[in-house]
Symmetry: C2
Subunit: 310 residues, 2 copies
């Protein structure tokens, strides 16, 4: 089918870990405008138009929204650690540019689908003994507050009927590449790389640390499911299902599947990291479950999915 | 006492209807930096330094926060109607500049008191049969979403311990001056001016319309009370008590106190205005009541307060 007859999707953060895989998954059934602040290479995908630029630039927003889109999947963000390091930049991108982008996408009057990558950071820390769909938002990171604020914007614009919005709160996504990501939770991905390489790694949490995780493979499927969903919750937001993993168990399973020694991982807990990422209690997501969202299902499958894409 | 030994307060929107009266009330016991985008005249108050500028300008924010403040009272806003007319400007001022200002005020490390003028617009419309402290936020106006977003920012920064923040949701404040205010609710003030002048006025709501109101006189007292409060709610936000007034009763009481004829007011309801401002149900504010916030107490007192400052 010719690209101009396919439903058009705009993806921000398309050069990122999730964005790259998402664009690839979409490119068979959609025409895609893919944008990121870094150079993009989707030259093997004829239905993808790549536009590099900064979301702070109104001209970039005008360029990527020039063509009406059936859907916008907004992944671009200044993540937690980077946002703490440059609060002004993070506020401009995570809040200001997000609002401007959503307004621009809505301006064609076609009520586009808007899927926003929010984060479990909206819950803050310390977390209560159990997190579910009624847990109040108490972000502690700037990043978490930014996500909660944009959730509010998307809910409002959805009530106004100018977009069909849905914010999805993502847990830790594994296994991200070994590169500076600005993420305080990078250790959750780095442990896959280290053990597969047979290299030692010191983890900033305890073996008992509990973390909510999802593989990129399953996340990309959940984002596509969200695109098609027609029975959104009234407040336009969902916490995605995630597998709750104990750090020591994760290390053991990665070691088992990679044939390495789990003692390559040692533990030197950093209280702030343990509090923010290693103390995640049982999580219930009945609303998302009822809408047929799902996580990897088991630690074995999660690790297999992550290692397959390493 | 010399100005430099008084607790220092920064007031934004100081040239506005509420701001002017607030600065006057504060000036005896505080040194005040008063800022607004319009020209300011506080020349009769030696403790007040007036700085005119645009909150979008980082240099203005640097100038007004150069001196550590014991408290920031953030009134400046692009109101409802004006925000719908210029969404991009409104987002930059109401959200972006508010976040930057709060960060700048916090940067001295003295954990300043931050009082934020939020709005009942965070509840949206239509409202439920009763509004209380548990009513979820469902803004419909851009302005209402902006306020809800900054409430979230203030709650987060308060949890982080860098400010001692409190968002106060203001009802309709009467009686504002007869000037373009960008407010869709301007009729609530204009009716005072018209009847006092013996002039006819057509109201865009029905005589049965119900509105939450507070006089400026009492509001200024509530803002000063908030400055001194030490037992804030955990989520750093309160809906202020407001008198629920029926439009026909308000007209009759203004006519009585001004000795004019209530038939000068006629009613031509605009469904959108009636829905947004004329359908406000019984309001309970137990959290604010428990913290000794209060409204005018009676329609007679509300009208007297408003007329006294007309």
């Amino acid at each position: 089918m010719a690209a101009d007859s396919l439903p058009h999707v705009l993806v921000t953060g398309a050069g990122g870990f999730v964005g790259k895989a998402l664009v690839r998954a979409l490119s068979n059934r959609h025409s895609v405008t893919a944008t990121d602040s870094t150079a993009l290479d989707f030259s093997d995908m004829p239905d993808v138009v790549a536009i590099t630029g900064n979301l702070e630039d109104p001209d970039l927003i005008a360029a990527i929204t020039a063509k009406p889109c059936a859907a916008l999947i907004h992944l671009a963000t200044v993540p937690g650690g980077a946002a703490e390091a440059d609060p002004a930049l993070a506020a401009r991108i995570n809040v200001g540019a997000s609002m401007a982008l959503i307004d621009a996408a809505a301006a064609h009057g076609n009520c586009p689908r808007v899927i926003f990558a929010s984060s479990i950071a909206v819950f803050g820390d310390p977390l209560p003994d159990h997190v579910d769909d009624e847990t109040p938002l108490k972000p502690m990171l700037r990043y978490g507050a930014h996500k909660a604020m944009v959730e509010e914007w998307i809910a409002t614009m959805t009530r106004r009927g100018v977009i069909s919005g849905l914010s999805l709160r993502l847990p830790g996504i594994v296994a991200r590449p070994l590169a500076p990501s600005g993420m305080k939770s990078a250790f959750l991905s780095n442990v896959f790389h280290a053990l597969q390489a047979g290299a030692p790694i010191t983890l900033p949490v305890s073996p008992q640390a509990s973390c909510w995780l999802l593989s990129r493979h399953v996340l990309v499927g959940q984002l596509q499911h969200a695109l098609r969903l027609t029975d959104d919750p009234a407040d336009a937001r969902l916490t995605l299902p995630a597998l709750r993993v104990i750090m020591g168990d994760l290390v053991a399973e990665i070691a088992r599947q990679t044939g390495t020694d789990s003692t390559l991982a040692s533990y030197m807990p950093d209280p702030a990291i343990e509090a923010a990422f290693g103390n995640q209690p049982p999580l219930s997501t009945p609303r998302a479950d009822g809408l047929r969202f799902h996580h990897d299902g088991s630690l074995e499958v999660l690790v297999a999915h992550a290692l397959a894409e390493l």
